[in-house]
Symmetry: C2
Subunit: 395 residues, 2 copies
Amino acid sequence: MSTANLPGELNPSPRLLLGPGPSEAHPRVLKAMTTPLLGHLDPEFVVMMSETQQMLRQVFKTQNPLTFAVSGTGMAGMECMVVNLIEPGDPMVVAVKGYFGGRMAEIARRAGAKTTVIEAPWGDVFDLNVLRDTLKKVKPKVLGIVHAETSTGALQPMEELGKLCHEQGVLLAVDTVTSLACVPLEVDAWELDAVFSGTQKGLGCPPGLAPITFSPRAMEIIRNRKTKVQSWYLDMSEVMKYWGEERFYHHTAPISSVYALREGLRVVLEEGLPARFARHRLHHLALKAGIHAMGLSYLTKEQCQLPQLNAIRIPDGIEDMKVRKRLVSDFGIEVGGGLGDFKGKAWRIGLMGYGARASSVFAVLSALERCLQQEGYSLKPGASAAAAQSVYANS
Amino acid sequence: MSTANLPGELNPSPRLLLGPGPSEAHPRVLKAMTTPLLGHLDPEFVVMMSETQQMLRQVFKTQNPLTFAVSGTGMAGMECMVVNLIEPGDPMVVAVKGYFGGRMAEIARRAGAKTTVIEAPWGDVFDLNVLRDTLKKVKPKVLGIVHAETSTGALQPMEELGKLCHEQGVLLAVDTVTSLACVPLEVDAWELDAVFSGTQKGLGCPPGLAPITFSPRAMEIIRNRKTKVQSWYLDMSEVMKYWGEERFYHHTAPISSVYALREGLRVVLEEGLPARFARHRLHHLALKAGIHAMGLSYLTKEQCQLPQLNAIRIPDGIEDMKVRKRLVSDFGIEVGGGLGDFKGKAWRIGLMGYGARASSVFAVLSALERCLQQEGYSLKPGASAAAAQSVYANS
């Protein structure tokens, strides 16, 4: 192939990323990635690793020594969490209320777990009593559950669940991909044993790393395994020689992604977690006011709606893809479609991290109004903007 | 933690990365990573994925449709290659002549392979007859071997090995982490069935992705598996729904890393592979002349020395860490130490991708001379620079 046939310079169209993730990366994070590489064992890089781990502990609200970032995307974090806790034949309960719970069950099965799935309707969450009864009956080693279900926009209450699990001698493993740095999460206070997340949502970084933390209780289980973890790449006992005190070579860390995460965490902690949660809440309320003003509704139950991920019911007679394609082509705005039970039924509007700001809310409301009108949906142009403005005015 | 206690701005010291990798990222690659994110299913991103795949095929010299980049570092690529080809109980031969061959054997065992290890001395490579005899005896499903052994700087001749394997009905799985885009590699012409690499060496990108390619023969084996791949994250039959024609969501691709890889591949193909190989060869010869001029020698056998990774014997009485630490502290130059059998015995000098240039060679030779002098090693200052210059003068 001659040089003339090579693809051209990287030149994507402008996009406002308001889907389920990736969210827009913070400009400071993108800038950090231009920093020339250090070696993965350079003393200066090792300091950066420690700083990143310390900031991750602050964002996770934990003292867990074993807190770091898996060198893969969020789903590598999920697999890492499961394969380290589970040995072949171990019983695991997975609480499924959407797409990502289902995925955890699939990963558990491949890890050789005797997997029991319990289900709640999509858009709803689990009642603590149901979970308690299941644990009493099944007596699993691990309960796996999703904190913020990205596919449905539902927030699972977690405050009491750790205590409940530990009363039954069960480990609690939690997916916080869409919750971390958007809504309160208290790994230690809530007694969570294994928790993973992703960088491309609340943290405002590109996808590519999976922050993860294991409680001393989980560590003990991992230390006493009788079998080796099936994955060498994700084996905590190996990885921790690198991310732990030894700093012994395991694999070559993705240097630029660690730079990005370190900068993203600095941005998060400069804002402060309470202010960050309040900001997500505010823009969610403004978006919701606008959504209601155009006559649309949420698919997620009112009492468990996530601020950062809004699952909107697609009105009857409106074609999902047509609207979403037009949002991209005419306005450069990406929102998500539905997965699984919500396929064709939901638009998922993400207001995460850097993307949770008034300009995002105004833009997506007006663009959506315009697209719906073009599809013959009856609404009063500008009503959603007015409703959102009024939320900001009263905040 | 108050904002005042947060780590400061990212500000690493300047480094010349001349170790076994990561090598310096090309400036155009770093710049590409500042590009704002697209969604992982954005039509424009999908085009970039296809372009990246097409350029990877050119660099791998293959027509394999299943050619893409695993969302993890090189070692995730190794695990991906092995766990897709192997089902529990399958016999696999791993040819070990250094650290990374040993690692492949460990991954094979965890995948449930009946693993037979054959060994060649560190710094040497395998004779084809030895490999043929082993395959005849063991009759494995897969032979795993490292093309360019990063721990020893040895290049395994591969031209005839694919044919030999196929005569025995064996699949050939190859680690090309340190060879890709540095020395000739012909996936199709050499009949290689599964080949993975990393981005942080010859391709001049940050670490974080593992380019990989599977032959139609390997695909057939994967399609006919009786058991599911133990890793959901690395399961080709799942991943290919995303990287294949369907572009169906599997995991969120590391967008910025794909941007980086796409740009790195453009840089490689603009230079052209033959010119790139010649450049690596030239700077290797200059380095080698300088190394010999200061009275040092190679640990790798003469006939199998890699141009891009030079394993230098540490002279008697010289302390490994003292010299390497001084290279970093006084001159900002990183070279690698030894692993395994070569621990404390070797310095590994990488001249890879963007790092393979005369200024690297001059800098590392003079800095090493200075450090050796400080340790009381007798040499003639400037002799190595003169020797390298003379190679360039005659090129």
